[in-house]
Symmetry: C2
Subunit: 478 residues, 2 copies
């Protein structure tokens, strides 16, 4: 059996069967069909249910996968746990490449479930690849597939892959990350990982041309040494970013009842990271930020940072947080200070690094000249911009001609002309219900920053945390 071709039939299926399909709008078996159609799956589709009406949503129903007249590549299973082994036998008999089992109630609920799961593994072994059980399955825009509640996920493809033991998290991650501009090659929620596990997906994604960055939410690893070997093999090829859930006792307890996983020690994972170059993150926001920064940042950046802000506390905060993160702020050489002094007023500004331009509303042309001086500085790799207004100011203070658009264009434009990396802190500024206009402008600005190859995060701490991870990784590669 050719593994690569199985994966292709799973991710880009010409035909899909939905076992447990239903004609009743409230039922999951109906939702699954509808979600797939709404999302835009264009292959052949076979609802399977011996008790369902002749047609569901216009597609002819079959009593079993065995009864489908044409080849079936990929099968979605939403029948109760006890009926799953029968479905697996049918799929094996029909020559199906893979199934995703949405149903829960296996290893994660105890002994009976564990036995049922082992039965599935036994039936499928060497004949059929299984994703799940207890999962949301596959989101692969190019293949027309989406997670069960994912009818409205972006239908365009991208270069980020995400594998997740949690289905809900897979969904949350796509929502959050696609909001930043990121798009996905493949997202797989693989739940209990009874057959295909994190190592299988890592291996596949490692050689998948669509995928440039690989992220993972993992509760327990099935084949530790294989996973280690694969991760190390990807160092310098594709960054692997791992959020490991269940590293504490309390988290581990939850992981056991969530996906039946044996969690693992923090120290073990830290050693794994050091030795493989896989990047560990600690929470959901760090995961989103890391993926965005790895996707956006140039390959040759180091830890030497210039910070520019419009107001002194930014400089102080940036100095503190950069030092905590292990980033380095070199002091500007005298010659450069002179050039900046010629541009900026002597009072209320600071020209050593962090650079305080005095006001967050510096005229765009002057802001540009200051940035050009910074970009000409050979001792730095990254310019972090914080609290210089690039959006939203009119909505906040009512002054219409505040120059945000012009300053934003300066940044977008300069990124195209430099080999240094811009990082912009895109603060939410306010969550006041009556100031939603500020947020609309912020989102539009973020989209444009994304398109220009600029990295951004909504706080200085988050931005520098993610940046430090990219630097750490690039040092590992070097």
């Amino acid at each position: 059996m050719n593994r690569a071709s199985d994966f292709d039939r799973i991710f880009y299926p010409e035909s899909v069967a939905v076992v447990g399909a239903s004609g009743e709008p409230g039922r999951p078996g109906y939702q699954f069909m509808r979600t797939l159609l709404e999302f835009g799956y264009r292959g052949r589709l076979y609802p399977i249910n011996p008790e369902a009406p002749e047609e569901i949503l216009g597609f002819k129903t079959y009593p079993s996968v065995r009864d489908v007249p044409d080849p079936v590549d990929f099968v979605f299973v939403t029948v109760p746990a006890s009926a799953v082994p029968g479905v697996i036998s049918d799929c094996v008999a029909r020559g199906v490449a893979g199934v995703e089992i949405f149903t829960s109630g296996f290893r994660e609920v105890g002994e009976d479930g564990r036995k049922l799961e082992e039965e599935i593994v036994r039936l499928a072994k060497g004949k059929l690849r299984v994703i799940g059980p207890n999962c949301f399955g596959v989101y692969c825009p190019r293949g027309g597939l989406t997670l069960l509640p994912g009818a409205r996920l972006p239908s365009d493809s991208g270069d980020v892959a995400f594998i997740s033991q949690s289905g809900g998290l897979a969904l949350y991650f796509v929502w959050a990350a696609s909001g930043c501009g990121l798009r996905f090659s493949k997202v797989v929620s693989y739940g209990n990982a009874c057959d295909l596990n994190e190592s299988d997906f890592l291996e596949y994604l490692g050689s998948d041309d669509e995928t440039k960055v690989i992220a993972a939410y993992i509760e327990g690893v099935k084949e530790g040494s294989r996973f280690f070997r694969l991760a190390r093999g990807l160092l310098g090829k594709k960054p692997v970013i791992v959020w490991k859930g269940g590293l504490t006792q309390t988290g581990g307890r939850a992981a056991s009842s969530h996906t039946g996983s044996l969690a693992g020690e923090r120290a073990v994972w830290q050693a794994f990271s050091r030795q493989t170059g896989a990047v560990l993150v600690d929470d959901f926001e760090e995961l989103v930020d890391a993926v965005l920064f790895f996707r956006q940042c140039r390959r040759n950046i180091g830890r030497r940072v210039a910070v520019i802000g419009g107001g002194g506390a930014v400089g102080v905060a940036a100095g503190d947080v950069c030092e905590r993160m292990g980033l380095v702020l070199p002091v500007a050489p005298a010659e450069m200070q002179q050039r900046l002094r010629a541009l900026l007023p002597p009072v209320g500004t600071s020209i050593r690094n962090p650079f305080d331009i005095g006001a967050p509303v510096l005229p765009a042309q002057l802001f540009k000249r200051v940035l050009e001086v910074l970009l000409s500085w050979e001792e730095i790799d990254v310019v972090v911009i914080d609290r210089v207004y690039l959006y939203g100011l009119e909505g906040l203070n009512g002054v219409p001609d505040s120059g945000c658009e012009e300053r934003l264009e300066v940044v977008l434009d300069l990124q195209q002309k430099t080999d240094k990396q811009f990082v912009v802190v895109t603060e939410e500024l306010t969550t006041a219900a009556d100031k939603i206009k500020v947020e609309v402008e912020r989102r539009s600005a973020q989209q444009r920053l994304f398109n220009a190859g600029i990295a951004f995060a909504p706080s200085l701490t988050r931005a520098t945390t993610a940046l430090a991870r990219v630097c750490w990784y690039q040092e590992k590669v070097r």
Copy 2:
């Protein structure tokens, strides 16, 4: 000279003079006048400028403070640094209570500036209180005062006070915190603190009836032992939350050029916190969250937390982060697990704590019954709700009847009936530009959570960080 009455004349002035007022719309001296009027100052107002037209914005201009016919309580100074000593002499002669000096170019720029600042101190000593120089001054809605760029800050009062060496930060903080529902008694940007310093404000705010929570951004402390004594004296009366800028070498370098402050060692500040019960935070977001949590949380809560989420990864993440923060998740007793088991399906849920209700869209009545079981549990103080949809779902997945409003009402209602504390994680969900409707609903939900006395933050990490700080403080008090 009666100190309290000086402060009253500063924060609630019956008359204000603006020295350096201008008739030209582009100039700061014009903006200051306009901002004050737009914000709604209703006392007597005197533009001061020997070269200005007879009237500015309808107010008669005087050449000097000495020439104002009526008593003047508070004076704003926006003239160049070298002219400030003369203004101070005028104010002393006129019996003014206080001045705020917006002008920069003093201690923070070097030796000449330091001398000028000392001259001001000498002239004012014992006769006139000085805020600044190098500051944005006072925002006190009840007194009709606002920060220079603060025309659109909320005009209603609240119970939070914030003192900040940085003016920009004072503004950012009011924007961010008022967006969450918080309102302010007094905000003071006090810059170089040549006269009135953090200790003076802490003393005043400690006995200010309007103020319930005191927050501070501090770069350098002028009177260390007094500040220590005051902070310790407030333990159990009003929480004091401090963001100390410049705790690293790089941050300290920036602080010196920002407000001419000598920063200080991290260890010293940690000892200060342990010994006084003042709460230290590390960045802007932590400051906002801490203030909100201290404002919202009930006084008797401890570290024992129940976490409820709609999806297993929430439980894993919550277990991990709570343990890291020093919060405790007791395991639900058998009897309680039975009651929950009777409510929730056996598969896809977890009833030990963290509580996984299986889906983030549990019907409201069922959600209510589950929460009631949790609230009846004597071993916990706090219920954290994460990834149960209380807003925004229709905008995300297009399913209109998703029950968010009903679930939100359940939470709002139950908070009024319990002595435990709800904490809700109000994730941003997506920042996609075309999904702004989700954000509109989120903001409205946050406002209602605020009004119901519920604490919230946009991530699990931020929520538990802030919660752990409240618990730490309440243990200090006990």
